[in-house]
């Protein structure tokens, strides 16, 4: 899965697209993994822009869970932005909304992670 990484200041923004379900979750995880190493204290914060994600299933949520555990252990910060209403519902139903910082749009997410430490 192509995540189209873009540097916005010190922040890396990833933009996956499509469905993160049983068919695509492995590809999403493999694409995400290389970006996690630099997401550490004094490293590059990560924003995942979900605006082009139409659905995420349990195994996709698990991939996010594994990622956030790694990032937190490294002292980094990874946040989510611009969830479509149906995807946001999945986060609420699964209680993943309690585990992630979720921002209404990409700009708000980048601003929030960039503001830390300034």
């Amino acid at each position: 899965m192509e995540l189209q990484p873009k540097q916005e200041g010190s922040t890396v923004v990833l933009s996956p697209a499509g469905r993160i379900d049983h068919t695509h979750a492995d590809a999403f995880k493999q694409a995400l993994d290389p970006h996690l190493a630099d997401c550490r204290r004094d490293g590059a914060p990560l924003v995942i822009d979900f605006s082009d994600i139409s659905y995420i299933s349990s195994i996709g949520l698990r991939a996010l869970m594994v990622a956030i555990k790694q990032v937190k252990a490294q002292g980094g910060r990874m946040v989510l932005a611009a969830l479509q209403p149906l995807v946001l519902e999945v986060f609420t139903i699964s209680r993943f909304d309690m585990l992630f910082e979720i921002f209404p749009d990409r700009a708000a997410a980048v601003a929030a992670v960039s503001a830390v430490g300034t």
Partner: protein, 322 residues
């Protein structure tokens, strides 16, 4: 077939508190203001149609026990039970009320596993005390009999196992090897739970019921997912351990041996299941929380875009016809 839920709660029996009962009354009476409920019929209509089940009823608090009715029980005095949680006590009362102590009955009891919440009803299962009754306990655990005898040792219970009047037998099952109880075929499947647990697939007259409780699903284990989809395949009803949220089940409560509503929906839709019954409710959930989970689960089944799936949430006393 018909499933009758006698105990829907997970881990530990619970009861409504006085504050919870009062809160239901306050909600119901507030909602009645201005409705002119001046006849018993209007009152009952209001309770049955305008109040949510979380206000007008309760999901109940007995631990796991499900009765499966496959035969004309007026003619055939044999019964199928899944697990001996505290729900076995009211089940026993209902059988005695219907048949009386003078008509011997045979009970076929399939055990998911031997943790306390699944065996604790047995010492209060009154048919066990009545000579002439026959109780056949089936399971895949090697220490099946030991678990039942041990909980009636003097340190835990005043009546020893050997003092029980009924004929009690234990039948060792093997996962994947079908067993016949009259014309019901029962097949066990190993599940992930501390000390192992087993799900059961019951087939009778073209209908299939799955009982799958105390079962954790590791999302990264594709082979196990396929195995469970095969086990659930085309079932009319799956009674499923939906104790935790997905987030809890794979984070703070990972390896606690339970699953979630979200995984239940996904497995059932992959397997072409007709109806999912959420089961083994978290003991700290009140009725409102369980109703919320039910509504969210129905919504999730819509969001996935997969095959339609009917979803209910188990409550003590619920009957589901297949």
């Amino acid at each position: 077939m018909k499933a009758r839920i006698w105990g829907a709660r997970g881990s530990l029996p619970v009861a409504l508190t006085h504050k919870q009962v009062r809160a239901k009354l306050v909600t119901a009476l507030k909602g009645a203001v201005g409705r002119d409920l001046d006849t018993p019929q209007k009152i009952e209509h209001y309770i049955d149609n305008d109040l949510g089940f979380e206000v007008s009823g309760t999901y109940g608090g007995n631990s796991s026990c499900v009765e499966v009715e496959a035969w004309d029980t007026d003619a055939i005095h044999e019964h199928i039970i899944l697990d001996f949680g505290s729900g076995a006590r009211p089940l026993a009362g209902s059988k005695l009320a219907r048949y009386g102590p003078g008509k011997p009955q045979t009970y076929h009891v399939f055990m998911s596993h031997l943790h306390w919440d699944h065996i604790m009803g047995f010492p209060f299962f009154t048919p066990a005390y009545i000579p002439g009754n026959r109780i056949i306990i089936y399971g895949c655990h090697k220490d099946l009999e030991t678990a039942f005898r041990r909980q009636q040792e003097p340190i835990s219970f005043p009546v020893a196992f050997h003092q029980l009047g009924a004929t009690i037998e234990f039948v060792q099952m093997e996962p994947g090897v079908p067993l016949q109880v009259r014309d019901v075929t029962v097949t066990a499947k190993l599940q992930l739970h501390a000390g192992d647990s087993y799900g059961y697939r019951l087939e009778h007259g073209g209908k299939t019921l799955i009982y799958s409780t105390d079962s954790e699903h590791k999302l990264d284990n594709a082979a196990e997912r396929v195995a469970f989809v095969d086990f659930f395949r085309d079932a009319d009803l799956v009674i499923f351990d939906a104790m935790y949220s997905l987030a809890d089940s794979i984070s703070v409560k990972a390896d606690w041996g339970h699953s979630s509503n979200v995984v239940g929906v996904e497995l059932c839709q992959l397997a072409g299941v007709h109806k999912l019954c959420l089961f083994h409710h978290e003991p700290i959930y009140d009725d409102a929380q369980i109703s919320r989970v039910l509504a969210e689960t129905r919504r999730y089944a819509e969001i996935t875009g997969e095959a339609p799936l009917e979803i209910v949430s188990a409550y003590d006393g619920m009957e589901i016809a297949l």
